[in-house]
């Protein structure tokens, strides 16, 4: 199957055509049309605030990326970076404020329910919380059959046979058809959610933190299952996660988000071995590494992520960046390839080389820790939380 090929495509080829990321300069893809093409995607939530009258939370602010058939793109970032909002917009659970989403060559940005219907079958979502994502009053059979039923599809052999097939595919006993979600463990529930997403034989699945609510020993089971499915069925994935190690094991390409923007996007090898954006480097070095004992010499970011209600001018990362200069406050860096690198980075002063070997090895951002927080105490926490509700 072509999925195999896709998975093993050489990074050089896979990366071409993705380098120029802005809408105008996006070069035509070499390996066929992208399955999903996102340009300038934005979501702004109005917030009401008793004192200041209100404002806009720019949860997602101008994303450009493509996903090709059978490709896995990881969307990583910390809480509040807009990755989940992006995922919901892709499957049209949220209405984008601006930008376009093209799926299989069709603009679906504002398509109505009827227009979307044929596309729904190709575009599915897996949720984070295995407890909230299954209707507790429905049997497993009904849950998995729901997408078929809703779309009035009667597969050859009948719905029941198809559901059994799906349950088997995700490693569940097909005889458990008549059981209820509460009779399953977290990992098994997540498998049920995956079976439901597969029911319509989609081409692209948005997986929103599919393993972060699971116990460590169960996480690996589900990651392996998703990898197998991706390979065997030739599925494309947008894999949303905060755990960079999990993303590395699942995704061919990775986009790093910060405050509603993509700050770096590229092939797995590039992102993990040669990250250029200081934020990517800080993220990677912050992950506790079991292979190194004791406190590691890591990049310490001070402060918190600023509020998306009032993001910093210019480069949004500058308030926590140890390399920030005057230009960072005035000019927003574009997401373009730098210094001959293959990945695209939105930074005026990109780094090079592996984390820990570059000049940032022991970089510690100095200055008052308040820099990231100073934009208004209540706003940082409350603004973001209001949006997430």
């Amino acid at each position: 199957m072509s999925a195999r090929n896709a998975a093993q495509r050489s990074p050089a080829v896979a990366n071409e055509g993705q380098a120029g990321m802005s809408a105008s300069s996006a070069a035509p893809a070499v390996a066929g049309e992208p399955l999903l093409r996102v340009r300038g995607l934005s979501k702004h939530f109005p917030v009401r605030d008793g004192l200041r009258g209100g404002g806009l939370v720019r949860a997602v602010d101008g994303l450009d990326f493509d996903v090709r058939p059978g490709e896995t793109l990881g969307l990583v970032g910390e809480s509040g970076c807009g990755k989940t909002t992006t995922g919901r917009m892709l499957v049209r659970l949220l209405e984008p404020t601006a930008g376009t989403i093209e799926f299989a060559g069709r603009d679906i940005t504002h398509a109505g329910r009827r227009e979307l219907r044929p596309l729904r079958q190709d575009l599915q979502i897996i949720f984070q919380d295995p407890y909230a994502s299954l209707n507790p009053r429905h049997t497993v059979g009904r849950i998995v059959a729901m997408p078929l039923q809703v779309n009035g599809i009667n597969p050859p052999g009948g719905v029941k046979a198809r559901v059994r097939e799906l349950l088997e595919l995700v490693g569940l006993n097909p005889e458990h058809y008549n059981r209820y979600p509460h009779e399953f463990s977290g990992g098994q529930r997540q498998r049920i959610g995956i079976a439901r997403a597969l029911a319509l034989r989609p081409k692209l699945i948005v997986a929103d933190e599919p393993v972060s609510a699971l116990d460590v020993s169960i996480q690996a089971q589900v990651v392996n299952l998703l990898r197998d499915l991706q390979r065997d069925l030739g599925l494309a994935f947008v894999f949303i996660a905060h755990d960079l190690a999990v993303v590395r094991h699942f995704c061919q390409r990775v986009a790093v988000m910060y405050l509603g923007r993509i700050v770096e996007i590229g092939d797995r090898v590039d992102i993990y071995e040669r990250p250029q954006h200081p934020y990517t480097r800080a993220l990677l070095s912050a992950i506790p590494d079991v292979t190194k004992l004791g406190p590691a010499g890591r990049i310490r970011l001070t402060g918190d992520v600023p509020t998306p209600l009032n993001p910093p001018s210019g480069c949004r990362f500058r308030t926590r960046c140890w390399k920030a200069q005057d230009i960072c406050a005035t000019e927003e860096p574009a997401l373009v390839p730098r210094d001959g690198g293959r990945q695209a980075t939105a930074c005026h002063f990109p780094e090079s080389g592996p984390v820990g070997a570059g000049p940032d090895a022991h970089a510690v951002a100095t200055g008052p820790g308040a820099r990231g927080v100073g934009t208004g105490p209540g706003a940082t926490a409350a603004g973001v939380e209001e949006v997430s509700k």
Binding site: R88, V91, R92, L93, R113, L116, R117, R120, L123, Q124, I125, F127, Q128, D129, Y131, A132, S133, L134, N135, P136, R137, H138, T139, V140, I143, M146, P147, V150, N151, N173, E175, H176, Y177, N178, R179, Y180, H182, E183, F184, S185, Q188, G193, R196, L200, K389
Partner: protein
């Protein structure tokens, strides 16, 4: 008095994880949350006792004519011969005897027991009908307001506030004769069935707000649940999401609120009769009997006692059962 909303009704099962719900490997047909609640209910002695009592009350009410036949006395039969010169029943405790289980009414000398049996029928009929209508109204309005939000939600909310701001008893007091006069002339005899229908209508007008608020709150809490989003992401329409995904998850609190609304309507019906609205003299009703009995508080306490205790037993049984039902549907709520 306000009809206070059912508090603390949370969803059963969801997130009730922990050591208890480990998959059982035997048997391939699972037990639904409803079946589990039923099993818990069956194990609850209070629930079973109050449930049996309720069924008994309902059976008695349904078979009122049969009771009359067996008892041999009708609700309108008068036994003036068993009253003394002041119209007081002869004998002890208001004339309790083998012929008249609960004694006789002073004045008219009617049999209290058989009138209570018919009063029970009237009260239960009104209460159940009102509870069903308010539940349907409340579910529809609450679910729409909660799910769709926006201006519809604002309008329904405002109407709810308005309804709550109207003094129920006073409006009911005024509305009942008004409605009656719209359909019957000044001197025409009003059929008892019409009186009952008017009462049900008045209750429906004022009673839907608590169910609507409850359902609205539940729907808002569930609306953003991922299983609803999963349906939406699969292209499900409004009907599927409300009826297939949401409502099955809020039956539990609705059921509890229903089981507690019935005794509330029984109480309200009695309260209305008490201030002199509602049913006509010949329709036997709890409230009317108590209202009339209060004049005999000193002279014939038994006349106050029997209707009072019967209505208490009925409402108490409902409340007990409602509480047990809540515990069964939501094991976390108390205990």
């Amino acid at each position: 008095m306000s009809m206070s909303p059912v508090e603390g009704v949370a969803l059963a099962e969801i997130g009730a994880g922990g050591g208890a719900d480990v998959p059982k490997e035997k048997g391939f047909v699972g037990r639904s949350p409803g079946q589990l609640a039923w099993i818990r209910l069956r194990r609850d002695r209070t629930a079973m006792v109050s449930g049996v009592l309720l069924i008994f009350f309902v059976l008695v009410a349904l078979s009122a004519p049969l009771v009359e036949l067996l008892y041999g006395i009708g609700p309108r039969d008068q036994f003036q011969g068993k009253l003394d010169g002041f119209g007081m029943p002869l004998g002890y405790a208001g004339g309790v005897s083998g012929d008249h289980f609960f004694g006789l009414e002073p004045g008219l000398g009617r049999d209290i027991f058989v009138r209570l049996v018919y009063g029970l029928r009237t009260s239960l009929l009104i209460a159940f009908a009102a509870a069903v209508i308010t539940a349907v109204l409340g579910i529809v309005l609450g679910a729409l307001a909660g799910f769709l939000g926006g201006w519809l939600d604002a309008v329904i909310n405002w109407v709810t506030d308005l309804t709550l701001a109207m003094p129920f008893l006073i409006i009911a007091l005024a509305l009942t004769p008004t409605l009656t006069l719209r359909f019957y002339g000044e001197r025409e005899a009003v059929s008892p069935a019409f009186g009952v229908a008017v009462l049900i209508a008045v209750f429906a007008m004022f009673g839907w707000t608590s169910t609507a608020r409850l359902v609205r709150g539940q729907v808002i809490a569930l609306r953003e649940r991922e299983f609803v989003e999963a349906a939406r992401a699969s292209g499900a329409g409004l009907g599927h999401m409300i009826f297939r995904q949401l409502l099955p998850n809020i039956w539990a609190p609705i059921l509890v609120s229903f089981s507690l609304a019935v005794p509330q309507f029984i109480t309200s019906e009695a309260a209305l009769s008490f201030i002199g609205v509602g049913l006509t003299e010949e329709t036997p009703s709890f409230g009317r009997m108590i209202y009339e009995s209060l004049d005999y508080l000193q002279t014939d306490p038994a006349f106050v006692f029997f209707p009072g205790i019967t209505i208490f037993a009925l409402v108490f049984a409902f409340n007990l059962f409602g509480d047990a039902l809540r515990d069964a549907l939501d094991p976390k709520s108390s205990r």
